[in-house]
């Protein structure tokens, strides 16, 4: 019998870093509201505050107000796009990013986030074009390299992906997910030692990163370290009790080594 090959589950591309809400100006909001309670700028400030305190719906309402009062405010579209994006409204987010880019083609973050969205919606060519453009506008954004690297890896461009991950790590050496991704790439190309180093680093940076334990478990399983693999699967499941792939891999391990 052949047992199913080890499966990788990659975490989703993330917009966490790029999705920071931009502040438009640094005037104290309190003062501003007192002076001009209904101005676009005051809604903008409150929208930023609400977003930062987790009130997404309130923030979306504020940025919609800004847009009504100041229909050419590119950053308001961008911020509302981020918030819609985060709350799962992909079409609304896409519309906002499009408009923001139309009004201000120099905002690298808007391209970068639209790239992630297009990627998720299956528009790979569009996503790649957006990442490329974002990098052209800002060659120092670690997250855009990370996302482009993931896209390249998924489309079979391992060399390009590796270059992107390397660059991303150079720009931000503390982002655990990039090591995890590069680890997968190295593992798939037979560089087990390099992969192990990357998974270890990912776990060191984020000891709660279930996917890195899962992937290291697969590597250990593959290289005959069944005890180490079991410990990693256990930990991945402990961190994420709904991790179906980890159960499947642990079951395979137990099946193979007869841990009754």
């Amino acid at each position: 019998m052949i047992i199913a090959a080890v499966i990788f589950t990659s975490s989703n591309t993330t917009h966490a870093l790029a999705a920071q809400v931009n502040k438009q100006e640094t005037i104290t909001p309190f003062m501003l509201v007192q002076q001009e309670p209904n101005s676009a700028a005051s809604y903008f400030e409150r929208g930023v505050q609400r977003a930062n305190s987790g009130n997404s719906q309130g923030a979306i309402a504020d940025f919609s107000q800004v847009i009504q009062l100041d229909p050419n405010n590119a950053l308001a579209y961008y911020n509302r796009g981020v918030l819609r994006d985060q709350s799962g409204n992909s079409q609304g987010a896409l519309t906002d990013y499009n408009r923001s880019i139309q009004l201000d083609p120099s905002n690298a973050l808007a391209y970068s986030n639209r790239g992630v969205l297009r990627d998720e919606l299956g528009d790979i060519q569009g996503a790649l074009a957006d990442y490329n453009h974002a990098i052209q506008l800002n060659p120092n954004d670690a997250l855009t390299y990370y996302n482009r690297g993931a896209l390249r890896a998924n489309s079979g461009d391992s060399q390009g992906a590796l270059a992107d991950y390397n660059r991303s790590i150079q720009l931000d050496p503390n982002y655990a997910l990039t090591y995890n991704r590069r680890g997968n790439l190295r593992f798939n190309s037979g560089d087990d030692q390099g992969a192990l180093t990357d998974y270890n680093r990912a776990i060191e940076l984020d000891p709660n990163l279930a996917i890195a334990y899962y992937n290291r478990g697969n590597l250990r399983f593959d290289s005959g370290d069944s005890q180490g693999a079991l410990a990693d699967y256990d930990r991945a499941i402990e961190l994420n009790p709904n991790y179906s792939s980890a159960y499947n891999s642990r079951g395979t391990l137990r099946d193979e080594f007869g841990d009754s």
Binding site: M1, I2, I3, A4, S245, Y247, R254, D255, E256, D259
Partner: protein, 112 residues
């Protein structure tokens, strides 16, 4: 990956059940549970799992291979050959030449 040994393995079964419970479309987990059931002589249960694995992912080469061998056991040579042929094609297409050769060998044996 070659499957070695194992008898009654409740913990593994629990894991596969949980994987399937969490993700009812998880083709590999059905395939793996099928293997486990086969080990404990539950051939009907195994067949059901391989069928489901293939239904969920018709490109699951290992499930075709496993069902192919099981069909040999059931005396269904025609069905076995069909499954092994598909498995061989899928392994070849994915560049997995080790398993491709292995399946080809089994195929020749079944066809004799």
């Amino acid at each position: 990956m070659l499957h070695v040994n194992s008898g009654d393995n409740r913990e593994a079964l629990t894991d596969f059940n949980r994987a399937i419970e969490l993700d009812p479309n998880f083709s590999e987990a059905y395939n793996n549970r099928g293997n486990l059931r086969l080990d404990s002589e539950d051939r009907q249960g195994a067949l059901a799992d391989f069928n489901r694995a293939i239904e969920l992912n018709p490109s699951n080469a290992t499930a075709h291979y496993n069902r192919g061998l099981l069909r040999v056991d059931f005396g269904d040579r025609q069905g076995a050959v069909a499954d092994l042929q598909v498995a061989a094609d899928l392994f070849q297409a994915s560049g997995d030449m080790v398993n491709y050769e292995k399946v080809r060998e089994d195929l020749r044996r079944v066809q004799q």
